[in-house]
Structures are given as C-alpha cells and as structure tokens.
Amino acid sequence: MAEVLKKTLTGKAEVLEGLPDHPAMKAILAWNANALTDALFDHDELTLTVDAKSIREAAATVQAAGYNFFEDVTAVDWFPSEPRFQLSYHILSHTYKERIRLRAFVTSADPAIESITPVWPGANYYEREVFDLFGIRFEGHPNLRRILMPEEWEGYPLRKDYPVEGYR
C-alpha cells in the first residue's frame, strides 16, 4: 500500500474509495455496515470506529478476516468531553503483515463495554489493566480485578481528573 502512504483519508466514504479492497474494511461492511460509524486512514494506519455495543462481534469479524493476532487494547480519556472514553484495539495480521485499529467510545455515565476475551484470550490482562487504571468495565470478562494497583485502591489513576502528584 505504498502509493497511499502519505495520504490521509478521513471518513467512511473516503476510506472506502481509497482502500476498496482492504480485507478488514470489507469484512466489517459485509457483516454490518451500520456498526461501522467512522473510518480514518492516517500515518499508514487504518482506524475503524465501531459501535461500542458490537465490539465483540466486530473483533470476531476481523479475526475471521485474517487479522489473527490481538496485540493491544488501551483507553484514552477525553475528559471533559463526551463520550469520554475511547478504547483502542490494535489487531495484527500475520498474513497481510499489517495492523488495524478498532476504536469504540463509551460514556462516563456508563463506562462499560463487551469484553473481547472470549474472542482472544490474550486480551485478558490488557482489559484488566484498562479496568484498573481507567475504571471501564468489560462485560463478560472472566476475572475482572485490579491488576497493577493494590486491590483496595480507590480511584483510577490514568483518568485525566486524577492528579499526577500530590493528594487526591
């Protein structure tokens, strides 16, 4: 995909036009075109924003499409704007030698999303880490407990309203 390397494609329509044969894009659209709310191709990385309610199915869809290796999940806190939390899933394909990013947004009123641990058991620790540091619940996670911070810790350190130093 060297010819589109420097280009930035914003929005679903533009990405679809610029990368019509992208396997992940095709698979997601074939599964449920409405679940894909936004798309972005920037810095040679494809970001697909999906509806938070269907993240597990989206993960299973890209897994079936050849994106076999779960690499990372983390969150970004966009405090004080809403929806506050952005979850970024990085999925690698050993076949296409390429990485995609799935993105979903959850609100601060109900910071919860479906766990993708049933799809990739490797997401277990990563989701626990997000739960621990951001306080986002993962529905259907087998063992959602704090992982880095002590069990009795109060607050979620990586939230933007949590101070870097001093007292809470």
Binding site: H94, R101, P121
Partner: protein, 406 residues
Amino acid sequence: MIESVGTPILKAPTAEGAKDQHMVLNMGPQHPSTHGVLRLVLEIDGEIVVRLYPEIGYLHTGIEKTCEAKFYQQVVPLTDRVDYLGPMANNLCYCLAVEKLLQLEIPERAQWIRVLLTELTRLNSHLIWLGTHAMDIGALTVFLYTFREREEILRIFEDVSGQRMMTSYFRIGGLAMEPPLDLFDRIQAFIKTFPEKIDEYSNLLTGNPIFRNRLKGVGYLSAADAVALAVTGPTMRASGLDFDLRRDMPYCGYEKFKFRVPVSTDGDCWARYVVRLDEMRETVKIIQQALDGMPGGSIKADAPKIVLPDREKMKTQMEALIHHFKIVTEGFNVPAGEVYQGIESGHGQMGYYVVSDGTAKPYRVHMRYPSFATLQALETMCQGRMLADVVAVIGSIDIVLGEIDR
C-alpha cells in the same frame, strides 16, 4: 467505585473444583527465580501445579501517567526505565512513534546507528536471559561467562551515551550526539570474538544432561495457544510461528539487512533456548552488516524546531540559540493524531501508542510490552507439571518485571 468480579486469589483452595488435599503456595515476590518482583500464587496437589495466578504490580510506578505531564523529549529517559535490560529498544520505539506523528525524515546514518545499537541491546538482553536462566536450572558457571560479555556491551553503551544502563541516547529526530571515533572499531572487535563465545555457552549447556532434562518437553506451548494468548518474540517463534516485525513489517531501515529468523516447532523450554541462541548469532550478522555499510552524513534530522542544535551553532548563531531556548523551555508541538509503532525487542513485540492533542505534551502514551502478554501464558505452560518446572518455564519465557508493571 466499581466492583471487581472474579475469584480473589487467596481464596483459591475453597474455590469450586479445588480439593481438600490441594495447597496454596506463594512463590515470590522475593524469590530469586522470579526475575524481579513477581508473585505467583500456586495451587498445588502434592508437587503438581493445578492452578497458577501471577500477581503483578509490585514495580508499578505509573510511567504512563508521568509521560502525560512531560514534554515529548522528556519522555525518552522515562522509557529507559521500563524494560531496563533493553534501554535502546525502548528509546527506539518511542522515538519512531513520535517521528511518525511528526512525519520526520531520519538521516540514514542515524537509522543505521540505531539498528546497530538496538541489536547490541538485544545481545545484552539475551545474555542476561541466558545467564539467569541457566543459573535457575543450577548451571551457575554460565552466568559468569555471559556477564563477562555483557560488561563489554555496557562499556560500549557508556562510551556512546555516558550511561551504562539508562542510556537515553536516541532522540526524537535522530541521536543525542555523534558516537565516539573508536566506537565502530570496538564493536567490531567485540563481535569478532562473540560467535566463539556463543559456542562456549553452547558447549557448557547444550550437551549438559541435567540442563537438557530440565528443559526438554517442559513448558509446552502450542502455536494456537501462543496466538490466542498474544505471546510474541522468541517464545512465539519457538512454538512454530514464523513472524518477526524486523523482517515482516520493517521499521528504521531493517529492510536493508539480511538475516534469518530462527524458528522451532517444538514449543518447549528447550526450543526457546535454541531459538534465542540462534537469534544471537543472527544478531551478530546484522551488527556486522551495519558496521560494514555504515553511511556517512548527519545524525540528526533537519528540523531546527524539533531537534536541539549543535553546541557550536548554538554559541555562534542567533536562530540556533532561539530554537534551543524554545525547545528546552516550551517543547515542540506535535500535530494531533494517534499512532502505534511496533518493534521487535529482545523479548518480543513492543509497541508504543502515542496520542497527541496538538500540544507539546503527549495526551496519552501507552506501552505494549511483550512480557505482559507472555506472563498470561505461564499457567498454560505450567499446568499439570511439577513445581520445579515452574522455575524452568519462568526462565525460558524471559520476562522482565519492569516492563510488565511499568
């Protein structure tokens, strides 16, 4: 406060499925074979491991949170402290991520020196793994041999950056300074004898019946499990998956180097030992190629608003002085966006996810470190095995607690 769900680990013996004769044993946090402060809660039936829970977080220092309060260039020294056995690899991954956001072109010489030093870092990391792994099994001698070579690598690091371990030598946009004149000769002298040293380790261990028996068939991890549990690096390749970011998704000019990726299909501790030993030999080849083809030119990108000017220029040119002052006091703004940069470190796939909101401080820096995922596979590898095998398996997966806890 959101409630946790799941089984609290200390209640393990009364949990469903556990039998009366089962015992819960704490291994660590202060245990010599856990390679740092890792606590393993083991449920054992006699000497057989039934369940195993790694308890981590003892070294958690909130580096990701600290990054958000620093300028982009101030994050570089923080990255050293994450995987403290592979400082240059951390620097490289972070710098590449920020350079991707800035769309900076890095001069070829800087790229080659980066490759050269990152590969030396890999040797450093593998040498510690080999020494401590063999020591866990009971072969104490190897440790002394590997640390002899590691000492020379650390001296080279000291020459090049002024620090033995926390090097912080790579900067956003290039390198901190031109390496010393005799550096390449020293590295050349080092790698000239290094393959013999690998033979020496191999002579001490490969034929050793105790070492063989402790590793062969122990800690089996199938290829499917390795993918499912997000295991990467030599541990994954020892399970038969042929994937290496350096070859398959090259970064920092790795596409110009020729090397082989060692793979084994056995999936046991022995396979991991063989793969890492082979990887050291391949690393020597990459270093040799980097030395032979070292290009001339600048070691810093041509971006005066991002890269600190040379000392000489700063003293003689007004603009350089202004840029220097601005960068040091205000940092530099990075265009808004998000990038993920993955590299192949000594332990596996390392990744930095950097989100910028257009200011001089990163909005979010997330670090994906290979040991964190590899640790998840520990239970799969140890279940149904003897307690003593846990020690062999921990050694063979080569974890660093600094990068797990961050």
